[in-house]
Point group: C3
Chain length 340, copies 3
């Protein structure tokens, strides 16, 4: 595709030749002739000189002799260019002859249901939704328009999915939460999980992640929130809008996560807490107390990030601190030799 044609579709202006042909998107270090690349983070500007890309998406204030698509948000513009260069193959609409769709399910126009997929009784599936092979949708599930469910997704009874929800392979929505009541013999008896799971519009959930149904009421993932692979969202959790949960995060039961929150990789959150809007937890943090809006927390247990950074440095210096303490004690004739 000519760069000028791409610019027109994206509503960008071109600097340099718009006649250059680009056929593929690649990173700045790997790109070669025919590739479109991008520069989003100014710290990578030194790589500009060495790239073999044919064209680039950059902010207008970045100088480069390469033919350029100009954008105030090059990362977003590049993301929007990718499907034009790499059109996704969309399966044809229709219900595969091997799929098992209950006659009482209401299937919207132009829906795709792949081989061996199962759609249960009284389900509603919105227009243009794609249900890949080997998806299981239990009874009484509502799925909005333009959703994309990859193979091996399991959506349990009564769950509700909004519009444009994307579930990658192996995601489980609405499995029973982990609730048991101890009886007088010390055995755990099942606490029936009679609530549901609700996934709002524009949520994307990635491979093998689990979102449990509520014990009572709802588990809810808010509009536009993105959840990475192998994340655990326990029963009765609510997550706000435009939040990010990175891989292997675990959120325990009944915790409320706000809007625009970022929980990075392997963070754990104890149950019944509140994580305020815009809060960020750095990787592997263990959150044991509620976090105010806008906070940046780290550590196990998680504390304010700046404090944690200072303490972490001193943790590594503990042997030195002990030596200095001993020197002081020796000077004062205080001996601790006995106990060491």
């Amino acid at each position: 595709m000519k760069l000028s044609a791409l610019a027109e579709k994206l509503g960008c202006s071109v600097r340099g030749s718009g006649d250059v042909e680009v056929t593929r998107g690649r990173g700045i270090a790997e790109a070669g002739p025919g590739d479109l690349t991008f520069l989003a983070n100014p710290k990578y500007a030194p790589k500009l000189a060495a790239t073999h890309a044919s064209a680039i998406v950059v902010a207008p204030d970045i100088a480069t002799p390469l033919p350029s698509l100009l954008s105030s948000n090059p990362y977003l513009t590049f993301a929007q260019a990718l499907p034009l260069l790499h059109p996704a193959r969309r399966p044809l609409p229709g219900i595969h002859r091997t799929a098992h769709v209950d006659p009482s399910a209401v299937i919207g126009p132009d829906v795709t249901v792949g081989p061996f997929a199962v759609v249960g009784g009284r389900c509603r599936v919105g227009a243009r939704t794609i249900i890949h092979a080997h998806v299981v949708v239990y009874d009484d599930v509502e799925i909005g328009e333009d959703c994309l469910l990859y193979s091996g997704v399991h959506v349990r009874e009564g769950s509700r999915l909004g519009k444009r929800v994307v579930l990658q392979d192996g995601v489980v929505i609405g499995a029973d939460g982990f609730g048991f009541a101890k009886d007088s013999d010390g055995h755990y008896q099942n606490f029936p999980q009679v609530g549901i799971a609700v996934i709002e519009d524009d949520v994307e959930i990635q491979a093998n992640t689990t979102v449990d149904r509520a014990a009572l009421g709802e588990t809810r993932i808010g509009r536009g929130t993105k959840i990475d692979n192998l994340v655990q969202v326990a029963h009765s959790v609510t997550i706000g809008e435009d939040s990010i949960l990175c891989a292997q995060v675990g959120v325990s039961g009944s915790t409320k996560v706000g809007n625009r929150v970022t929980l990075t990789g392997q963070v754990g959150v104890v149950g019944h807490l509140e994580i305020g809007d815009g809060a960020i937890a750095t990787a592997q943090s263990g959150i044991a107390h509620s976090v105010p809006a806008g906070a940046l927390v780290s550590g196990y247990p998680a504390i304010e990030n700046r404090s944690w950074l200072r303490s972490v440095v001193l943790f590594a210096r503990l042997p030195e601190l002990l030596r200095r303490l001993r020197t002081v004690e020796k000077r004062l004739g205080l001996s601790d030799a006995g106990r060491e």
Copy 2:
């Protein structure tokens, strides 16, 4: 259902009007007219005044004007009331026409096998067990009576499940353990995993959790133990009875976990250890040494909880401790300026 009818089924006594109608169970803050709620933890007693529930399950010593079911264990009684108010929809018995059941499998009375499920050669499936759509049971598996296997469960060859075992969607039982022998070229050669996995009666395992088969002998999950989502139980591990493994716990190979143990979220346990009966590990603990019975451990590496709590507080105060040490050094004319 009238509260009095519910009381009779549960063997409870009623305080106040037994004529009130309840149709649903809800939490104390969310409950409205027609709802039954409960008060299990006295610290939530202040919420009693504000609830809109029509009736409540409480301990006899809790004063409330609401019509009440009296129970010494309100949480358990409420759990037992839920299936009466929210009866689970049980699939009809029978083998779905699209299921693939090997002719040599022995299927008990009133078993359900859902669409596209696979049951291998020489399997035995006990009475009333429900095998949902898209379950794969390999050859030579034994499944007891009244089990419930949700969609996407995979049970590998030779595994043995007791009675009333519940496996949520995506659980993998008996996949190969992680065992390799290094050869003289530094390559890892497969160590065949010829053992099996055994799941005893009344065990519940939740979504996308994995329990590997043993290298030699058995991996075993003891009666009544409950395992949450995305947990890893490695080869040759044994877990006792009535234990709890919360989400994303990992137990490494050959470790023995006792009875009534609680491993909370994201705890990791090194291989070849013993975790004594009744031990508890708080969230994200990293257990690197065996833990005695009854111990409460925390931290990474895990130590006795009380010690850990004291040290954690001081960790956050390390900058202050350094300042105080410097003050002392200055007073004594000891300078560390050079190395900082």
Copy 3:
């Protein structure tokens, strides 16, 4: 099988009677009559006297009256003996009548495709590969010879698998990476993941692990690397040859892991780092900076293992250190009573 026959197949010499019959492999403590066991770690030599095994694999310098297979690498030799004693049941070649194989797929000789498996358009599957029931192979996937894909494996479009690749149940290869571009309204827009995932020869990946496709270019797992259950390998990661990733490890986007690296259980690695050849990270480490070749790191954030071990000991002694500091302060008339 007679021990002498086993020795001949394995190319080992026998010490003691080669006429003893062995039918099973078991660990040294559990073995009984008819069992072959092994001694790989000299620290278990005291167990030699008590074993009931009929024969053992040992190094030549280990004295034992048991009939012995002599090997300089007893663990490897025992691993090689196991399939001779416990031959794996191999499914018959052929495409099951319920499988859905696209007519444009090229299936090699003696391939097995199990019930309800799906093989997409233009796929190529090498000779003798076994695709179990309920595997989904999307379009344009290449799978080499002698691979073994267990049930519930999902291989996304365009992925490439080498020879002798083993994927345990529930593995997801090539699902979309976690990439989003924030727009001016603070919403996350999808960054199309147009790269692929490449799994080289002799890689084994265990149950419910996820390896994402690259955003651009490739995610790549190098020859002979072994990955345990519930591991997350993010988009555009490359892992070298003969490396080990234990259960629940997470490697973030674009990180490069070298050859012969060992990441033990629940280790997390931040994105865009380099982990040098031969490096080892102990369990639960949180790696926030690149790690040089050959390093042994621990902790959160991970530091050199020896330093960490020293600091960890002092962490537990922080209350004592504070007491000693107070004693010093009191001696000097420095009071901190006010702030505590």
